[in-house]
């Protein structure tokens, strides 16, 4: 399994990333197939999507909310958000916790690969791709890629319709910020299905993002060490998938933002993302952005979770992925 995944990942890393992982041999016909008879302008919808994958889902949620202000993600309404104010100034709406990625690539175990090397998620897809009967088999990729695109586009169009029904004065040409950070481990799969949309990746530092995690696992000694090791590998796996997705997108359609940018000068960072996404200026967005995200790290007033030895181990485990993260722009 690992050899196959490495070969596929290596094929995907062309200079401009034009060949996404598991990409179809005929992307043009795939796009046409995915748009035919959908009953709406699928190409336009795809171009208005901004797929967001963050190494830390909490940070992804914050940036989604900031970018889409005055809309606020809310699972209650059918459209998935509420509006403060009239909505006339909304240029982007949030699609938060869509969880489509978790259906397209259900994960059920620890990442595949050795520490320090590129990691791959333990998804059904990665284990079953060689079986021709499998829904997402390599042999049938031409079929399922069209089907999965159509499923995603239909579903997101349904959100757009609900948004317009629930908020009558929304402007035409709305962007949709689709926060799929909880499925970041398979970012490359989704990104490869939607090459004409935009890709926004949000990279954090594992030291800060993983500091609170070992608290979740009871136990001491070996058990705690195992928990930390597992959390670190999952972080690395997310970063690797995000990096693969990033490399598969054309430079003008992709953007990487770092946690420190969002923490140091959130207003400027969110404005930069907004300009790239062609969202236009917004006072509501500025106001929400200015408050900044919750800082990463210990959540109980600065008390450290990890020992110095554990931090050093974490640093070693994530070294190659942190280096890789620096190359993303």
């Amino acid at each position: 399994v690992l050899d196959r995944l490495r070969r596929r990942a290596s094929r995907s890393r062309s200079p401009h990333g034009e060949n996404a992982p598991a990409a179809s041999a005929d992307p043009a016909s795939e796009r046409e197939g995915a748009a035919a008879d959908l009953g709406f302008d699928a190409a336009r919808l795809e171009a208005e999507l901004i797929w967001l994958f963050a190494t830390d889902p909490g940070l992804g949620s914050w940036l989604t909310a900031a970018l889409t202000a005055p809309a606020r993600p809310d699972p209650g309404p059918s459209c998935g958000f509420k509006l403060s104010g009239g909505g006339g100034s909304v240029t982007a709406i949030p699609v938060s916790r869509l969880s489509l990625t978790r259906h397209l690539a259900p994960a059920f175990g620890d990442p595949i690969g050795e520490d320090g090397a590129e990691l791959f998620p333990a998804t059904l897809n990665n284990y079953m791709a060689d079986k021709p009967a499998y829904l997402f088999s390599a042999a049938a990729s031409g079929r399922w890629r069209v089907g999965a695109r159509r499923l995603a586009l239909r579903r997101l169009h349904s959100t757009l319709v609900a948004a317009r029904e629930e908020h009558r004065n929304l402007v035409p040409g709305l962007r949709m910020v689709v926060d799929e950070s909880t499925g970041a481990y398979a970012a490359d799969l989704v990104a490869s299905l939607m090459p004409r949309s935009r890709l926004l990746v949000v990279i954090g530092d594992p030291q800060g993002e993983l500091e609170p995690l070992p608290r979740c696992a009871d136990g001491e000694g070996g058990e705690r060490d195992t928990g930390l090791h597992r959390a670190a590998r999952k972080w690395c796996c997310r970063l690797d998938a995000i990096a693969r997705a990033h490399s598969s997108f054309s430079p003008e359609r992709r953007l990487a933002v770092r946690r420190e940018e969002l923490e140091d000068d959130p207003l400027e960072a969110v404005r930069r993302v907004g300009a790239w996404a062609r969202l236009g200026p917004s006072d509501e967005r500025d106001a929400r952005a200015a408050r900044g995200p919750e800082p990463a790290g210990p959540s109980d007033g600065g008390k450290a979770n990890l020992t110095d030895i554990e931090r050093e181990r974490l640093r070693q485990l994530t070294a190659s992925q942190r280096e890789r993260a620096l190359t993303l722009r």
Partner: protein
């Protein structure tokens, strides 16, 4: 798990007519692992059989020829269509006295932003029907392209036991297809799974995890019993909702005791003509005793084909623990408990 809203007429319509026709030629085999579903699939699809080395996943059995007019039944061995529709992220949970799968759908269905939200059912139902049917149609096309002689309108027998926790959702999405529940005494299923995970068992070897300690044994028994009860509860719910003429329940024990009669009834239900001698031949070719001796026995996939072994395998306390979890679906399926 909520089976979600009914399939809307809009989601049902608007499909490529070719795919719509295919839907009525699907036979979904639900149940649970270690219930004889591979064995049943081989018999229904004979002389075709699942073959992971073939581009389509299907080939002819060695030494067999296709019938005049081509193969009428093609096997689809675990497409995992159900597992993508409803990924389970934990062991089944008890709810209102029944065991339900811990799926994303159950957790998030009420959320407006969730991909498979009840409130956007029309969109995802239409999309997922198309994805699933497109894949199955693609398998037929690949089988033809690889040179397999296939009838003009083949039936696809789909083994999906490992996705039975979502059988209700799949059958709701594809209401014109057939539902076949292959039931086996849950106590024997638990026993068989435990044997497969024992040191040297085929699942222990494949997955690198063997049950060795008393605690692991207790935990595995509990997991297997819950999984079986959840699969049966869910599929029985699907049976209740599906058109009766498109639904069959077959017990593994009946298939073992009366293979020819049971298969004849199934072929008739599927609209396939098979003579008694043909059925006798194919049942013989796939019987336990036809499996080469080195490929059957303890620790193998083909273990013993002897119902009731659970009585020897489990202590009184273990039997009580299993019964506490599975007695209700056992009774519903007509087993003594």
């Amino acid at each position: 798990m909520s089976a979600g809203p009914d399939l809307s007429s809009t989601a049902l319509a608007g499909l490529d007519p070719c795919l719509e026709d295919l839907e009525s030629r699907l036979v979904w085999i639900w149940g649970s692992p270690r219930s004889g579903s591979s064995w049943l699939l081989d018999q229904l699809a004979h002389p075709a059989h699942p073959n992971v080395r073939a581009r389509s996943g299907i080939s002819l059995l060695p030494g067999e020829s296709p019938p005049a007019g081509g193969c009428e039944v093609l096997p689809v061995d675990e497409p995992f269509i159900a597992n993508h529709l409803a990924p389970a992220f934990a062991d089944p949970l008890e709810r209102d006295g029944r065991l339900e799968a811990a799926t994303l759908n159950r957790e998030l269905a009420a959320s407006g932003s969730y991909a498979f939200s009840d409130r956007h059912a029309e969109a995802w139902q239409m999309g997922y029907r198309e994805l699933a049917l497109g894949h199955l149609q693609g398998m037929i096309e690949r089988a033809v392209a690889q040179g397999l002689q296939v009838s003009t309108a083949p039936i696809l027998a789909i083994k999906e036991g490992n996705g039975s926790h979502a059988s209700d959702l799949v059958m709701q999405l594809l209401p014109q297809s057939r539902l076949l529940l292959l039931a086996r005494d849950g106590r024997d299923v638990v026993d068989s799974l435990l044997a497969a995970y024992s040191p040297g068992g085929f699942l222990a070897r494949n997955q690198g995890v063997a049950v060795t300690t008393r605690e692991e044994r207790r935990a595995k028994i509990d997991w297997a019993a819950r999984m079986w009860a959840c699969n049966m509860d869910t599929t029985l719910r699907a049976v209740e909702r599906h058109p009766p003429e498109l639904t069959r329940i077959v017990r593994y024990e009946e298939l073992l005791a009366e293979p020819v009669g049971t298969l004849a009834s199934l072929f008739k239900w599927m609209g396939i003509e098979r003579s008694a001698s043909e059925i006798e031949r194919l049942a013989g070719a796939h019987s336990f005793h036809a499996v080469p001796a080195k490929r059957r026995g303890e620790g193998r996939r083909a273990r013993s084909a002897k119902p009731g072994r659970w009585r020897e395998s489990f202590s009184r306390a273990e039997q009580d623990a299993i019964h506490a979890l599975i007695s209700a679906p056992l009774r519903r399926l007509g087993y003594e408990s």
